[in-house]
Every structure is written in C-alpha cells, then in structure tokens.
Amino acid sequence: MVMPTIRETLAAWSRQISERYESLSMRLRRLKDPAHVDLAGRIGLFIPATTAILIIVLILTFLWYESMPILTSDVGGPAIFLEPTWDPNRDLFGIGVFIAGSLVCTGIALGVALPVGIGAAIFLSEFCPSHLRDVLRMIIEMMAAVPSIVYGLWAYTVMVPWIRDSVYPAVSSNPLLAWVPFLQGPTNGYSALAGGLILAIMLLPTVVSVSDDALRSVPRSLREASLALGASESETALKVVLRAALPGVGAAIVLSLGRAVGETMAVLMVTGNSLTIPYSLFDPCYVMTSIITNQLGYAFVFPLWRSALFAVALVLMLMSICFTAIAKVLIWRGTRIGAVV
C-alpha cells in the first residue's frame, strides 16, 4: 500500500483538469462556426447595452406609478404644480413653491456662472500662454472633481456667515442699493443668494471646460481671417470665435442648467429651507431636491405625502431629460456647422 505523494496527487489532478479542458475545447472547436460565436456575442452584448435605457424606463415608470395617487386624488390633482402652499398636515401639497425656489436659485447661479465662465473660457482658449493654461485646466478639472458635500460644507461654514456679516450689511447700508426691492430683508445668511452662489461655483468648472472645448474647436483660419481684416484680438474672440462656437457654448449652458436644477446637498445646506417663495436675494427658499431629501424618510408611510414627493422627483426627471435633449440637439447642430465651415 503506497500512499501517493502530494506531488503525484497534484500531477493527477492537473492531468484530469487538462484532459477535461481539452475535451471541452475540442467540443467547442467542433462547434467552431464563427457565425455562432458572433451571434452569441451580438445578443449577449445587446442586453448590457440596453441597461441605460432600461434604467431610465424603470425610473420613469416608478416615478409615474408613485406620483399617480396625488395627481388623481381630490386634494391634489395636476394643479399642485402651481399651488404655492405645502402643508402635508392640512393636505395641501402645492409644489409650486419648490419649483419657484429652484428657478430662483438656478437663475442666480446661471447669472453668475455664465458670464464669468464664458469669459474665463475665452481667456483660456484665446489669450492664455500655453503653460499657464495647463496649470489652470488642471485646477479646473480638480474643481469639477470636488464632491458636492465638500462645497456644501464650505458654503455652510464660510459663505453663509460671510453673507450675513459682510454682504448684507454692506448692501443695506449703501444708499444706492438699499432701496432695490430684490435686495431687501433681514437675513441670517441662509438665502437664495447663498444657494445660487455655491451653485455657480460648482457649475463654473463645467461651463469653463465645455465652452473652452467649443472655442478651441473653431478653425484657426477664422481667427486669421478676422485678424487679417484688421480686427483686434478681443474683437476676433468675441465676434468671430465666440459666435462660431455658439452652439457648443449653448450646450454648456443647457448642461449646466440641468446640473444646477438637480444639485442637492450643497443647496440643501445653505438655502434656509423655508416654505416661502423668495422675493429678495436675501430671502430663504426651498428647492425641489431639498424637499425630497428632507422629507422622504418621514413621508414614506403617508401615501399622499410620499406621492407628492415623487411628483417633485418626476418634475426633476422630466426637466433633466429635456435639458439633455436640448443639449444634444445643440451639439449636433454645432458639429454640423463646424463641418460646413
């Protein structure tokens, strides 16, 4: 009786495995019709390819299904999209106040981010020395990577006190500005202005890099032609390059619009979350993403309340689909115009 040594056992195993593998591969080889493999690949890969669409359809279905109760009930109905009063305890589910809050914050953000961002993109693509541009682009890429909660933390601890202690006193003590209607009101710093500014800061990297790409893809010959006609460098940048890049810049605007409406954490932390429509920059407001974040946890057991929150999510979803579609069309037109030039 000889016990097999470990080495022998291993050798036997490996022989068995390789035999089995060989027979398997032989069998496969007999089946080796390339068309078979190709067909299997085509079908096997088609399913993962549809995941994105599948997820979108699932999201839309669930949001629709979840928001149906409020849209068909007596206390709600489609009118909730315009009603300004949100009080689930009294069965008042007006989500107009959140839509207004989102619009105000987004408006402030775009009002700040677009001129500054497009100007910065013009500097980067037209006037900037190339080594400085590499550094700046790297910083801007890093800014785009900073998580929104970190921006929120900074806005919450730095920007809100700054607005309370510096901006508002400066504005209200300045006789030229103190009477302006949309600069009124006492403030504790948590305001539409704070939300709009932090949104603008978060949007700027996107606006700058997309516009910069669009500006740089304008053919050099256009610039040369303009300069040869005697236009100055800034006239060339504004009236020729920017105009030619307009569809790409438009895509940047729409994309950033979508991101601004959908941004959650940073805005939630600084807008003050008060259920009023803001009439002044210093008024607090409540945006669509914040109400979902703040109340979904409690509302889950109340069918109508939960359903109203999902109606807000549905609005957000439909808005973002629209923005993406518009941006796609703009980019497509941009490439077509670029091809013509």
């Binding site: 890969l45 999201i59 979803m317």
Partner: protein
C-alpha cells in the same frame, strides 16, 4: 551683454517664459498710463477686455483655494493632533462613544459601496460600449443607446436616491445596506464608464481590427483580445473617473444605505448597513457639538484627498498606459 545672456537663459525655462509674458503685459500697462493719448479707443478696449477675462479666470479658481484653505485651517488640527480620534486614529478607529473616535466606518463604507458599484456597473457598461461601438451599425439603435446614456448622466442624484428607495428597497425588497447603495451608485457609474469606453474604442485604429480578422480571428476574439486590449488605458481612465464621481455622492445614499457606526458584516440585511464619508460629513456638520464640526472638516479633507488621488490616477493611467501600449 550680461543682460542679454540672462534674458536668453530665461527664455529657456518655463518661469522665464512666464516672466516674459508678465513683463510684456507690464510694459503695455505702463504704456497705457504714460502715453494714453497714443492708444486708440479700440486698443484700450482690447486691453480692458483681456484684463477682464483674465480676472474672470481668477474668479473661477479662487473658491477652490479658499475651500482648501478652510479645510486645511480647520481640519488639519485633527490630522496632526494626538487626542482621541486625531492623527492616525482619524482613519484607523471607529467613532465609538459620543462619536469622539475616527471615521474608519465611513472610509470602509465608501470603499465597500464603490467596490459593489464597480463590480456591477463596470462589466455592464464596458459590454454595452463594446456592443454599440463594435457590433452595432450607426443608426437608430446606437443613437437611442447613446442618448439613454446621456440622459442617465444628467438625472439628478436625489432622483436616483428616491428610485433606489422605492425600487430596490421597497419593490425588490433588498432592504437598506451596502448592496442597495452600491447598486444605486452603479446606475450612476454606467453613463460615465460607457461613454469613456466608447470614446476609447473609437480611438483604436481600424487597421488593428482588420489585421486580426485577416489572420482568421473571429469577431469575438478580435474584439476582446485586440480592440479592448488596445483601448484599455481609456477604459481604466473612465472607470477611475466614474469611481471618483460616485465616491462623493451623498444624495443617493441617504435613503439606501442605512447608517452604521461599526463595520458592515454582510451584504444584505441590517448587518450590511454602511456609513459613507459624504453622509458622515453631512451628519457631523449638522451636529452642534464643536468637535464634530472639526471632525467634519477633517473627514472632508480625507474624502477630498481620496477623490483627488483617484482623479490624478485617472490622468496618470491615461498617459502612462497609452505610452506603454503604443
């Protein structure tokens, strides 16, 4: 003589070139002050416009440094201190009693969530990108899939959170935890990885594919052994970018992960509840206790470092790997 040598030397270095640019600008500014009458209005406008857009770049990048300064000035005392939960303990101990300890639970939680998301999202999106770039002809199907990916990229993160809550938690009954949170993040990863993979595949010259096919390889073998291998650096970059992006997401996790002051021990059920760095930062900053406010800053510093390291790795991967393969 010496000065010209000096200048020539300066021309060679980057700093020298920067100096030349700056001094040129300075000279023009002086000219603007001294000989204002000689400049036409258009020239003045030109200079003013350039200064204005330069100022705008400054406005764009300033908040990043203000933010870094704030995080460092408050959070650094935790990173270098030696109290409970400070220094090494910040990333190596659990919060413990009164949350005085470190944020190990959050770091482990974020890692677990990202791993689950990567394991689910990356195969799906790479295979999807291979399908649209290698197997489908340009046409309606391809346009629809690309549009789907773009729409998915634009959906607000809180909508993913609400969807994960109602679909994964309530409808599929997966419950809160690492699996649900990871799946929600995987949905968010898909568009990024898919589009970057597709871009990378587009860059592969078709001569490579043709050579492989001409040698008798099947389409399948050509795709996976030649095309995907050549596109690997781009794919890795895309994966890293997506990982960096989902690492900092808070909103999708609020309703899907539960929260846990210890470490998760399973993949489903209550023992799989995980904390995550963004969620921890949020709950700490909303807490009135002063040491938690400080801890929020140091946790944000840790998160920022993780994200930026992944981002830099992504850049590095694309450059380094491309060079090695080509």
């Amino acid at each position: 003589m010496n000065r010209t040598d000096d200048e020539r030397e300066r021309e060679g270095t980057q700093a020298g070139r920067l100096w030349t640019v700056l001094s040129e600008g300075g000279t023009r500014l002086v000219a603007l002050g001294g000989r204002a009458r000689r400049l036409t209005r258009r020239e003045v406008k030109d200079i003013v416009f350039k200064l204005l857009v330069a100022l705008m770049v400054l406005i764009v990048v300033t908040p990043f440094f203000l933010l870094l300064a704030r995080l460092l000035s408050v959070g650094l005392q935790d990173l270098v201190g030696s109290g409970p939960g400070q220094g090494w303990e910040l990333i190596a101990t659990l919060p413990g009693a009164a949350l005085r300890g470190g944020v190990l639970n959050a770091i482990v939680g974020t890692t677990v969530l990202v791993l689950v998301a990567t394991a689910v999202g990356v195969p799906l999106s790479v295979m999807g990108a291979v399908y649209i770039n290698e197997y489908s002809r340009p046409g309606r199907v391809r346009t629809a899939i690309e549009f789907g990916a773009d729409v998915l990229a634009g959906i607000p993160s809180i909508v993913f959170g609400a969807f994960g809550f109602t679909f994964l938690v309530a409808y599929l009954g997966l419950g809160l935890g690492a699996l649900t949170g990871g799946l929600t993040l995987a949905f968010m990863m898909i568009p990024t990885v898919m589009r970057t993979t597709q871009e990378a595949l587009k860059q592969v010259p078709s001569s490579l594919r043709e050579a492989s096919l001409a040698l008798g390889a099947t389409k399948w073998a050509t795709t996976w052994r030649v095309t995907v291998r050549a596109a690997l650096p781009g794919i890795v970059t895309g994966i890293l970018l997506a990982v960096g992006r989902v690492m900092g997401e808070t909103a999708p996790l609020i309703f899907t992960t539960g929260n846990n002051l210890g470490l998760p021990t399973g993949l489903v059920g209550p023992e799989s509840w995980v904390a995550s760095l963004p969620f921890t930062i949020w709950s700490y900053i909303m807490d009135p206790r002063p040491y938690l406010q400080v801890r929020a800053h140091s946790a944000a510093l840790v998160l920022l470092m993780m994200v930026l390291i992944v981002d830099i790795l992504a850049n590095y991967a694309s450059r380094r790997l491309t060079r090695r393969i080509v």
